[in-house]
Amino acid sequence: MNKLIVSLSPHVHSGDSISRNMYLVIIALIPALLISFISFGMGAIITTAISVASCVFFEWAINKFCMKNDKCTVCDGSAVLTGLLLAFNLPSNIAPWIVVIGAFFAIGVVKMTFGGLGCNLFNPALAGRAFLLISFPVAMTTWPLPGQGFGTYLDAQTGATPLAMLQEMFKSGDVQSLPLLQDMMLGNTGGSLGEVCELAILIGFVFLLWKKVITWHIPVSIICTVFVISGCLWLIDPAHFANPVIEILSGGLMLGAVFMATDYVTSPMSSKGQLVYGVAIGALTIIIRVFGAYPEGMSFSILIMNAFVPLINSKFKPTRFGEVAK
């Protein structure tokens, strides 16, 4: 008789894998990616390609030459995903060498120095964006306007994003013509590559929920918190604070809530912890947007909360069986 394998139970596995989850997130990003190609033309395609290629290259090179690891970690799809998300956070008319620096910071510094996938404290793509925003403030806040034809890249006409318009309006008191809500939904506004079309992001969100890649807790708690806080401010003083629907549909809020804050490695483990994390991100975002110097607060609030995740994990445990009274 042939020899039998003996191991402990369970003897079956769901078939889930790291790469499956990564590729499902990449699929969920496709609608937003296509819209960005349509809105910003060639610039979006080039920026995305450079970002993905350089993230994959840095991951491969560091893994091979610095960590001397024979296993191919590029195949798990996480570097591709980081590249895509980094590109989503950049304006499409940004110079290619800036993108490469951002990718190096994201993969090389934020991810690989901590030990690679699963070990990083901060979201690599967002940390890359924050690094670029501080290092190249002008290039990072010069937003091309959408719909200038396919050939636009570095020569794109630029304009303000809805959030910048809002901040300007409330500061100076001049009433500007804000973009229509439906334009914000469909992506007819200025902004980073992937953040402009909220509808495409929503499609991605539904897909991720359906495939059980993420749970609802983080995105819903962020959006609800932003809605409630900005709604209260708006009710108190509509002349100085924006309508909550505009707050939710503008800037990187939806993109951050669905794709950035839900990053497995840098978000809390229990659903209670995830709710706390989401509420804190939402509150910080509004505080930064309303009182801070930057019109956009999503990426900073996620990075700040990333630092609190170990604390949240130790304080907010899942409800143990039998803990609920009968």
Partner: protein, 453 residues
């Protein structure tokens, strides 16, 4: 549709043998009876080499209150009292019997006529419990806890319901399903007897919705004859057959952490196979010496449900189902989620053997573990509300006190965490180590505290 409230997974059901009627398995040439077939003290052999036994003769006495006697499922001569490697992989004391003919004890009623409790109104709860105890009945779902102990709750606790576990949430297994379809009347009399023994007047039978025929059949019969028995269809989710999960699903109460027992929330849980065994023991005077076993696997020629005399080696059942396939990688006693991989196929069928599962080479191998990506899927899957990723890390670093603080002893070892882990990490292997070490430390501390007094 009802189900338990925390965690859970849904493995592929693979109920290959669901439509196969129960067939009677052939008698073995030599039957082997390990003495430790239940939780508690092992049984003590009461026969010696050369003794003649019949079908239903007691061959080992209970070794204490939490223990159960063992009966021969064959007639013949005691060959030897020796040891055998059972499903646990350890050698245990065992009685070997050479089979000669098929002669039953005269006291057993072998007719198929149904006897209901109405025909025997003189049965008191004490009678029923005594008969169950003397018939060697233990939980037939796999945990093998002696049934009479569960029916004798500690003073101060008051059972309110009997909950029958007919969930069969393990993939592949269909023995309980077939039993309900083919022996529905007997099972219901068994439930009635368990209600009487537990002095309760309400019983629930929890059945997962993937067995609609069993739900319909039992509902129809209960409506006509047993208004106190309610069928509770449950959403198919693993590990619904876990005692605590089933109570939560059916009556929405959660049993607190050990040492609390299910009866502390008012529930006595018994497996549907146990209910059938209780019927046979009380009404037919037949001790526990045979059971329905599912023999299954994707490569197996003829997946089947067999009525097997205990002591029959698994290899014989596999042969009856078309033989061990060429590509066999693993033979599992029980289901794929909690069953035990066997070292060889000569392991005998015991009271808790619900199935024999053959996995081919490819299915049998685990994938290479990857680094933890903290996806929290294990936390979401854990039906006890634990954090498997953390318990596994603490166990691997031997931080036993921290693991205890994180409630490692509450783990029911269902394997949902490891099943769901996208990084294929051996979470349960590590947690088991942590749990058993933590339990040992707790026992040692209790002993030290007693000595200090």
């Amino acid at each position: 549709m009802k189900t338990f409230r925390i965690g859970g997974v849904h493995p592929a059901e693979n109920k290959l043998s669901a439509a196969e009627p129960i067939k009677i398995a052939e008698l073995p040439q030599v039957a082997v009876y390990p003495m430790g077939q239940h939780i508690g003290a092992p049984a003590v052999p009461c026969v010696k080499k050369g003794d003649k036994v019949k079908v239903g003769t007691m061959i080992a006495e209970a070794g204490g209150f939490v223990s159960a006697p063992i009966f021969s499922g064959v007639s013949g001569t005691v060959l030897k009292v020796d040891t055998v490697v059972d499903a646990s992989g350890y050698a245990k004391p065992a009685v070997y019997i050479t089979v000669e003919g098929d002669e039953w004890e005269e006291s057993i009623d072998r007719s198929t006529k149904l006897v209901t409790t109405k025909e025997k109104p003189e049965l008191t709860p004490e009678d029923i419990i005594a008969k169950i105890k003397n018939a060697g009945i233990v939980g037939m779902g796999g945990a093998c806890f002696p049934t009479h102990v569960k029916l004798s709750p500690p003073p101060g606790s008051k059972p309110e319901w009997v909950i029958i576990n007919a969930v069969e949430c393990e993939p592949y297994l269909t023995a309980d399903h077939r039993l309900m379809l083919e022996k529905a009347d007997e099972v219901l009399v068994g439930v009635d007897l368990l209600m009487k023994a537990g002095k309760v007047n309400k019983a629930y039978i929890g059945i997962e919705e993937n067995k609609p025929d069993a739900i319909a059949l039992l509902e129809e019969k209960c409506k006509a004859q047993y208004p106190n028995i309610e069928i509770v269809p449950l959403k198919t989710k693993y590990p619904q057959g876990g005692e605590k999960q089933l109570i939560d699903a059916v009556v929405r109460r959660q049993v607190p952490a050990p040492p609390a027992l299910p009866v502390s929330v008012g529930a006595i849980v018994q497996n549907v196979g146990t209910a059938y065994a209780v019927y046979e023991a009380v009404m037919k005077n037949k001790p526990l010496f045979e059971r329905v076993v599912t023999v299954t696997g994707k490569s197996l020629k003829q997946p089947s449900n067999l009525l097997v005399r205990m002591g029959t080696p698994m290899s014989q059942l596999i042969d009856a189902c078309g033989g061990l396939p060429e590509d066999t990688g693993k033979v599992i006693g029980g289901g794929p989620m909690m069953g035990k991989a066997l070292r060889n196929t000569e392991v005998p069928i015991c009271k808790g053997s619900s199935g024999v599962l053959i996995m081919n080479d490819k299915e049998a191998k685990r994938a290479e573990p990857q680094t933890c990506i903290r996806c929290a899927k294990c936390v979401g899957a854990c039906p006890m509300g634990l954090e498997p990723y953390l318990l596994a890390t603490l166990s691997s670093k031997q931080l036993w006190d921290k693991a205890m603080k994180e409630d490692v002893v509450s783990c029911i070892e269902c394997g949902s965490c490891q099943f769901t882990c996208p990084s294929n990490r051996p979470l349960l292997d590590l947690i088991r180590d942590g749990k058993s070490t933590a339990m040992r430390i707790i026992r040692e501390r209790q002993a030290a505290a007693r000595e200090g007094k």
